[in-house]
């Protein structure tokens, strides 16, 4: 075999290796999900969703965990979106390029990379103990908000950056103040892409367990929370709890819980992909 033939063979071998690798992770995930469906689907029922937790696997349900997750999501949206979007606007539209904004930028890139348990430690010391919020929903949602705010800031900035400068200039030319130009022109124009990014961040937040365990979420809560100051548990934590039990029946429960959690995650991801496509089609600068 001459050299060029050998080179060509390498080339096509690598091509198949590439395809194989590209599909490898996806195939494994598909297999995992198939097995989960196989074990958990039969357990999944309205009863399972509306039952309180129990020592008896066949009686246990995810009601408190699910309600806890919705509470957590709602509170986190309120805090993280307000603060994250505001900070994003400030950095992109107000902050002068200089030492301070450079520091803010480096700081945010760093925060994105801080492990989520560290946020849990921060929340534990700051919200749970110094502010005396204990293991409440409020302490948890503050912590989760801090975790996703850097992501929301980055999305907001990128979305604003994508809006052509001419729009802002046009608003100024008509006598708008800076905030009017931002709130009436820039933000509406960037909103689709900001919302997409926020939903994506929430899809990640909904699956977080570690920081919330550290900040004081409970693994067993026999009632549903009624106010932000109540104790709570979450779907991922409930799954974690069941997974660490030795009885196989609890593994079945965990599978059923995973189906619900994956459903929520994929729905949120799906919405963001849908919005992104819709947005890209509608607006062409």
């Amino acid at each position: 075999m001459n050299r060029t033939k050998k080179n060509r063979l390498n080339d096509s071998l690598f091509k198949y290796f590439g395809i194989l690798n590209t599909l490898l992770g996806l195939i494994m995930l598909a297999v995992f999900i198939f097995i989960i469906l196989q074990t958990g689907l039969s357990r999944l029922s309205w009863d399972f969703i509306t039952s309180l937790p129990s020592r008896f696997p066949e009686k246990a349900g995810i009601y408190t965990a699910l309600i806890g997750t919705f509470w957590m999501l709602a509170l986190t949206i309120i805090f993280s979106v307000t603060l994250g979007v505001s900070a994003g606007i400030y950095l992109e539209e107000y902050a002068r390029k200089g030492f301070f904004s450079r520091m803010l930028e480096i700081n945010i890139s760093n925060l994105v990379g801080v492990p989520s348990v560290i946020y849990g430690i921060l929340g534990l010391a700051l919200f749970n103990r110094y502010l005396g919020l204990g293991g409440s929903l409020l302490a948890g949602s503050f912590t989760l908000s801090l975790l996703i705010i850097p992501v929301i800031i980055v999305t907001t900035r990128e979305s604003l950056k994508a809006v052509p400068r001419t729009i802002k200039e046009a608003a100024y030319a008509l006598g708008a103040t800076r905030w009017q130009a931002i709130s009436r022109q820039l933000l509406p124009a960037a909103s689709g892409s900001i919302v997409t990014g926020i939903i994506l961040a929430l899809a990640r937040a909904i699956g977080e367990a570690a920081p919330l365990i550290v900040v004081g979420a409970l693994v067993y809560v026999p009632f549903i929370p009624n106010s932000p100051l109540d104790d709570y548990t979450l779907l991922p934590i409930q799954i974690f709890n069941w997974t660490s039990r030795p009885q196989p029946e609890f593994q079945v429960n965990a599978s059923a819980g995973i189906i619900v959690l994956l459903f929520l995650t994929f729905v949120l991801n799906g919405i963001s992909i849908y919005l992104r496509n819709k947005w890209q089609k509608k607006v062409k600068w």
Partner: protein, 250 residues
């Protein structure tokens, strides 16, 4: 070594009919210049001879390119073999981010030749042919980026010579160079045509006039006129050619 023959070439990029029915015979051991305004198809035409257009999405072509009586667009033709025979020098000097030595050795290494003594020899002769040896012989291990633009371009030529091509395609090789480097490059091209067939795309009329034996004028995808450079510059047959050469448009 035979002529390069283009027969009834048509090229499309999507819906854009970039070359329209171009036929041309390029003589061996001569410098043939392709001139014309931007977007006239001269670069596309040049890149047909080593099939560099193959990587452009929605590129489509009809017609034949014959080198040594073989249609290089025949499916049995191996593009890698072809490109060893038909070397190319690009608009901007594009050395690899490695040493001067490794840049010249690249072509041999990809063919599996790794013997140091042989590599040393080829690197030296190629750099000598490209008139760069005296300037770099003491700094072969230095990164290629440390060279000046003109030196980088001659390095790219040395790199091409190292695989012993028969034809060298040059796509505006002097457009990024200063006048002194340009004149060095032109002298080099003049030397090289003794052993290689050279096709060069250029924007610079004076350059075409100085270095080429024959010149082809392209306009809007068509080959308007093709003749010896002398006749083309003194007595062009077409008004368009005359207007372009005298700088009235383009």
């Amino acid at each position: 070594m035979n002529q390069l023959i283009a027969k009834n070439i048509n090229v499309w990029y999507g819906d854009n009919h970039a070359l329209q029915d171009v036929s041309m015979i390029i003589d061996p051991f001569q410098v043939t210049a392709l001139i014309g305004p931007s977007g006239c198809g001269k670069s596309t035409f040049l890149r047909l001879f080593n099939r560099m257009n193959d990587y452009i999405e929605n590129f489509r072509m009809e017609g034949e390119i014959l080198i040594n009586d073989i249609n290089i667009y025949d499916p049995v033709v191996n593009t890698e073999e072809l490109r060893k025979k038909v070397g190319m020098v690009f608009q901007k000097p594009n050395p690899f981010p490695s040493s001067i030595y490794e840049n010249v050795a690249f072509g041999m290494r990809i063919q599996g030749m790794n013997k140091k003594s042989e590599l040393d020899e080829v690197v030296e002769t190629s750099l000598k042919k490209a008139v760069l040896w005296d300037e770099v012989k003491d700094s072969l291990k230095k990164p290629a980026f440390s060279l000046s633009g003109g030196q980088q371009q001659r390095l790219c030529i040395a790199r091409t010579l190292a695989v012993e091509p028969e034809v060298i395609l040059m796509d505006e090789p002097a457009s990024a160079l200063d006048p002194i480097s340009t004149s060095k490059l032109e002298n080099l091209i003049f030397e090289l045509k003794k052993s290689y067939t050279i096709v060069i795309v250029t924007h610079n009329m004076q350059q075409a006039g100085r270095i080429s034996d024959k010149t082809a004028f392209f306009y809007m995808g068509k080959l308007i006129e093709y003749d010896t450079t002398k006749r083309m510059f003194l007595k062009p047959a077409h008004l368009q050619t005359q207007n372009y050469i005298t700088g009235r448009f383009g």
